[in-house]
Amino acid sequence: MSLILQLAISGLSVGCLYALIALGYSLTFVVNGTLNMSQGQLVMLGGVLMFGFAELGHLPFFVSFLLAALIVGLLNLGIERLAIRKFDKGANSIEWVLSTIAVGIIIQDVALYVNGPDEGVTPSPMGDEMLRIAGAGIYWKEFVFLPVVAVLLVLLILFYKKSHWGLWLRATADNRTAVEIMGISSNKIVAVAYMLSGLLAGIGGALMSTNYAVSVDIGLPLGLKAISVAILAGVNNPKGIVAAGLILGISEAFIGQYISTAFREMFVYGLVILVLYWKPMGLFNARKTIVKV
């Protein structure tokens, strides 16, 4: 029994990571149908900055956490201004996919130049103790991912539902000209969405560096995996994305155990292709509402 629990728990913490990054995609895709293909690199940047501030800069944990998240958020603001706005020309314009990939290449190489290739883990305030639940073990610093993602999800939903910025975001997603008529510059709303998405990426990266090693080359694989989560869930459904992230993390652990570790990776992408054949808009995609809240 403890094996199944062990697999589930350890899969959960990895699933939280995927969910957090995929949430970043959904925020921007909902607003103007574009997303930042270098989101993975932003997460890497969050982790590297966190490690840099906490370990090398000896700043307190929470100060460096906030700094890392903010810097990545502001960077994403710049990326939107340069790499997205010019290319966002309606439904199936694709140039922004390429421009954000190019930005990703630049971020990764500059990070390599500044930070060097080494891997680093930021010591977590939760220490390295182990939490034992009925024989299954998980580090506190890993387990803390779950509540953090839960809190962020609730904040995001409240933001969509209650705050007027959230309302503006959903209105821009629905009808951009009407938003302009209502006296709100839709470009500003898109920029805010990108900053929030950058913030999420920064938080994801910083959180990740407390238990997993971050180095400059982890960005791309993480980004590709998180895109699959977003596609699986249907990009306009925050709750669906977190669920899909967790399911993916857990099923990876079980597939590894019961089928074979070799085919684990193919399972994820195979599932994505199956979904795209059967339900291209994603499993939890709510047809009608632009943002399922």
Binding site: E95, L98, I101, A102, V103, E265, V272, L276, Y277, P280
Partner: protein, 609 residues
């Protein structure tokens, strides 16, 4: 006069051919001029040109940006390497098998990709690319895992084994052939149909062009070329590994096409030269990839049309002014314009189209309420009514753009279910749109020729190789299109892109394009909007000429005087309901019509007018 035009056009084509052959001759002398380092780079350029010409067809013509085509190169490479190392088959047979398997896997990718569109399209291709990469790492028996396959036999003919020189010449021949195929495709109806579906899917469907079939052809060609170039590379370097074709390679392939200029035949050549030579020149150690990414971004930002595209748009206006082919005079014989469209024999007074009880809802809006209508063959039947009355909605329902919630249709006595635009177009119903939907990248003549795509559909193979049969049908299409342009009295330059047409002309060319599908029923949605008085006069003459040759026209128009002069019957729609059908005089003086239009209270005074 005409001979002079043909000859000058002939000169330009001949000059093109001579320049092409000279370039290939020079490149063919390469192996004896440069050392193996530059020869290897030229070889790599050839490999990229082969794949990227296929991708150019996919991105430039069909508008599908696939970021997973390195996977298809890998399939071609692994299939041929596996068969040649395991079973010792000759290079020539394994390459063919490799291409076939790439085609099969490419088709698997094509189905969801073409259906999805938008950002999902790129995600699907990325997912496929990554799955192929993972399979190659895992499936040791087939791919040798991460260490790949070594010692792959080099191609042989008779005694001669191909070394780098031989492989380079082989690649040169293949890439020249690939470029020729792309050029032929661009000049064929298949190429035009691809660009049509890319630019305006709805307009293409209304001409009877099925998006899936056309775009699948693009995908198939690109898959085969990718498989071929993958196989050649593997056998040339006698080693293949999963890392050779990963996500970064797919991005590189797309960049080559975009950098060169998507949709331009020579685009991939320029793109490949830059992408292959750039890393060799940037041999600084630090921030090399950052500069690479920077250049990629700069090209996307500053040169959206790519290098060849920007040069072309810079040079061609000058070229055209310099070598201005003066417009063809209207051909001297408009009267006996041969039956340009197969209009049926007057169906003895039986109505060509009957609509009964058509209902249509948009969410809460009840757009069409119980619409019933009879349209007599060989007449002009106008639909009038205030804005938002449902006129365009009715047209969209008849043409199959929207599906109606209720009601049934009969066309020439047979029951008609307007499933889709292309299906309805095949039944001989053509239409134009309220806002111009011309294909901007195609020239005026090519726009009209896309109307003929449905009828004169020669095979894909024939189009690629430009076989005599296909050439003849191209000539025929050109002739018919010129005749149609003469019919509508178009005097402007027929080779300039449609995007440069003045507004009025755009409407007329759109009508000519609709006529090219040889319809028996033509639906026109506000053709006169934005036209000058003289253009409206021309339109009136055209409609009379068409109807006299047996065509039936359903016309939506706001210019009441035009409607009055040209219509046989007028139907007035208001608030989704038909409030009257009859002769123009009867309808336009009917108090209910005026009330609907002017919104006057039951003011007796105005009714008398």
């Amino acid at each position: 006069m005409n001979q002079l035009i043909e000859r000058s056009a002939g000169y330009r084509a001949a000059a093109g051919w001579i320049a092409g052959l000279a370039a290939i001759g020079l490149l063919a002398a390469g192996p004896w001029m440069v050392d193996t380092y530059y020869l290897n780079l030229l070889f790599m350029i050839g490999i990229f040109v082969i794949t990227c010409t296929g991708m150019n067809i996919l991105i430039g013509y069909c508008g599908i940006v696939s970021i997973g085509h390195a996977g298809l190169m890998a399939i071609g490479a692994y299939m041929s390497s596996f068969l040649s190392t395991k079973y010792g088959l000759s290079f020539w047979s394994v390459v063919l098998i490799g291409m076939v398997v790439s085609l099969l896997i490419g088709s698997l990718i094509a189905i969801p990709t073409i259906r999805a569109g938008g950002v999902y399209l790129s995600m699907i291709t990325i997912a496929f690319g990554v799955v192929i990469h993972e399979v190659l790492i895992r499936w040791d028996a087939f791919s040798g895992g991460p260490l790949g396959i070594s010692g792959i036999a080099k191609p042989q003919i008779g005694g001669y084994t191909f070394d780098l020189k031989g492989m380079y010449l082989f690649v040169l021949v293949i890439s020249a052939a690939a470029l020729l195929l792309a050029r032929n495709l661009r000049r064929s109806s298949w190429g035009r149909s691809m660009i049509a579906t890319k630019e305006n899917e709805i307009a293409a469907a209304s001409l009877g062009i099925r998006k899936f079939a056309v775009q699948y052809a693009g995908f198939a060609i690109s898959s085969v070329l990718a498989g071929l170039s993958g196989a050649i590379y593997a056998h040339a370097n006698s080693f293949i590994s999963p890392d050779t074709y990963n996500f970064q390679t797919s991005v590189q392939l797309v960049l080559i096409v975009i950098l060169g200029g998507a949709g331009r035949v020579l685009g991939p050549v320029i793109g490949a030269v830059i992408i292959v030579f750039l890393p060799e020149l940037l041999d600084m150690e630090k921030l090399r990839m950052a500069l690479y990414g920077g250049i990629m971004f700069a090209v996307l930002f500053f040169l959206p049309k790519g290098i060849v595209g920007t040069l072309d748009s810079w040079l061609s206006p000058r070229m055209r002014r310099f070598v201005s082919i003066n417009p063809r005079q209207a051909s001297s014989k408009p009267e006996e314009a041969k039956a340009l469209f197969a209009s049926p024999v007057r169906a003895g007074g039986q109505p060509i189209l009957v609509l009964e009880g058509i209902q249509k809802y948009f969410g809460g809006l009840h757009a069409l309420k119980e619409v019933s209508l009879k349209v007599e063959a060989g007449t002009i039947h106008s639909l009038v009514g205030p804005n938002g009355a449902g006129k365009t909605t009715l047209l969209n329902v008849i043409s199959g753009l929207y599906s109606s919630d209720q009601g049934h249709y009969t066309l020439r006595g047979q029951p008609l279910i307007p499933r889709s635009l292309s299906a309805v177009a095949e039944l001989g119903i053509a239409r134009t749109f309220q806002h111009s939907r011309l294909f901007k990248e195609l020239s005026v003549l090519e726009n009209v020729m896309t109307g003929l795509a449905k009828r004169a559909q020669s095979g894909l193979g024939a189009s690629l190789l430009r076989l005599p049969g296909q050439l003849r049908s191209e000539r025929l299409m050109e002739e018919t299109s010129h005749a149609l342009l003469d019919l509508i009295g178009y005097e402007g330059d027929r080779d300039m892109p449609a995007s440069q047409l003045p507004y009025g002309h755009q409407r007329m060319v759109e009508i000519a394009r609709a006529l090219a599908t040889a319809p028996s029923l033509l639906l026109l949605d506000e053709p006169a909007a934005g036209m000058t008085a003289s253009e409206i006069e021309q339109l009136e003459q055209l409609l009379r000429k068409l109807v006299s040759q047996g065509l039936t026209v359903i016309l939506i128009e706001h210019h009441m005087d035009f409607v009055q002069r040209v219509s046989d019957t007028v139907t007035v729609l208001d608030f989704g309901k038909i409030i009257g059908t009859g002769s123009p005089e009867q309808m336009l003086s009917d108090p209910r019509v005026i009330q609907a239009y002017l919104g006057a209270e039951e003011v007796a005074a105005s009714a008398e007018h």
